[in-house]
């Protein structure tokens, strides 16, 4: 029988893959995609508990998380484009001005 634990475990696995992507990848576009994976994991968690508790609030929170993800993607991609204009590259290693 599939319970809430299975969904939580899956959501956590998705979250871990996303965090690993943020840490490992060099391309800024893929880092942004990994952040989308993390937000998806959060949504899955919210909706699994909403189902378990019979409470609609989890789904309403997920609506706001999706709104946030849309705004974040728009701003993030605009930043990537303006960085590409500035540097001619979308690699994280090339943006190291603040490195000590």
């Amino acid at each position: 029988m599939i319970g809430v634990t299975h969904y939580v475990a899956l959501s956590f696995l998705l979250f871990t893959i996303g965090v690993t992507g943020v840490l490992v990848r060099r391309n800024l576009l893929t880092v942004l995609m990994s952040i989308e994976l993390i937000l998806n994991a959060a949504n899955l968690n919210l909706i699994a508990f909403s189902r378990q508790l019979g409470d609609l609030n989890g789904q309403l929170f997920a609506v706001f998380v999706i709104t946030l993800a849309a705004g974040e993607a728009a701003i993030g991609l605009a930043i990537i484009i303006s960085m590409y204009r500035l540097k001619g590259s979308v690699n994280l290693d090339d943006v190291a001005e603040l490195k000590g």
Binding site: I2, I17, G21, L23, R25, R26, S34, R51, T67, A69
Partner: protein, 201 residues
């Protein structure tokens, strides 16, 4: 909760897509794997009685965000980066941190699944509660020349309608703030993305 086959199948799709996002060298391939993962998550939402959110997931993520990503990938010249390594210099440390996170949170999930009640799938609430809500409104009518308002409670059916009532009644202020947030994000994206204008003298 649901038929185990659907969960395991779509869980496998989601994890396969997510691993593909991280492991693919070309950003276009990553984006297509991300699309696969989004569709898998939408299917899992359906197994969790969240039909409205499944539709929103497909429309917003697979429709809107994915188009934004693909446009950006096309705008940015990725051929220039083709020969270089696709993971950055601290990739080993990043992978190690990921594995440590897997161990820590995985251990927590396994430990908490032993707690009674959480792992008990039979204790899941009635799914009908997610698809209906009761609303109370005042119905005003004229009786003998006087206005009389009586509260009437009625049930609305359907996941979308239940979410609409929650969104427009209980979460009205956050909903309005979200609309302002989207406006700010849109203006910000336009300002950040547009070329700097040459001054015309």
């Amino acid at each position: 909760m649901t038929a185990p086959f659907f969960f395991w199948f779509f869980a496998a799709v989601v994890v396969f897509g997510a691993v593909g996002v991280v492991a693919m060298r070309q950003p276009v391939h990553s984006a297509l794997f991300l699309l696969l993962s989004f569709f898998g998550v939408a299917a899992l939402f359906i197994t969790l009685n969240a039909e409205f959110l499944a539709a929103v997931q497909v429309l917003v993520y697979a429709g809107g965000i994915m188009v934004l990503f693909l446009f950006t990938i096309m705008l940015v010249n990725i051929r220039r980066t083709a020969g270089q390594p696709f993971v950055h210099t601290q990739a080993g440390a990043g992978l190690l941190a990921g594995i440590l996170l897997l161990a820590i949170v995985g251990g927590t999930v396994v430990a908490s699944s032993r707690v009674r009640g959480l792992s008990d799938a039979g204790a899941a609430a009635d799914p009908a509660r997610l698809a209906s809500t009761s609303i109370t409104r005042n119905v005003t009518e004229v009786v003998n020349g006087k206005k009389v308002s009586t509260p009437v409670t009625e049930e609305v059916a359907g996941n979308s309608q239940a979410i609409a009532w929650g969104l427009y009644r209980d979460y009205l202020l956050p909903f309005e703030i979200a609309s302002v947030f989207l406006l700010v994000a849109m203006i910000g994206a336009v300002v950040l993305g547009k070329r700097t204008m040459e001054r015309v003298d």
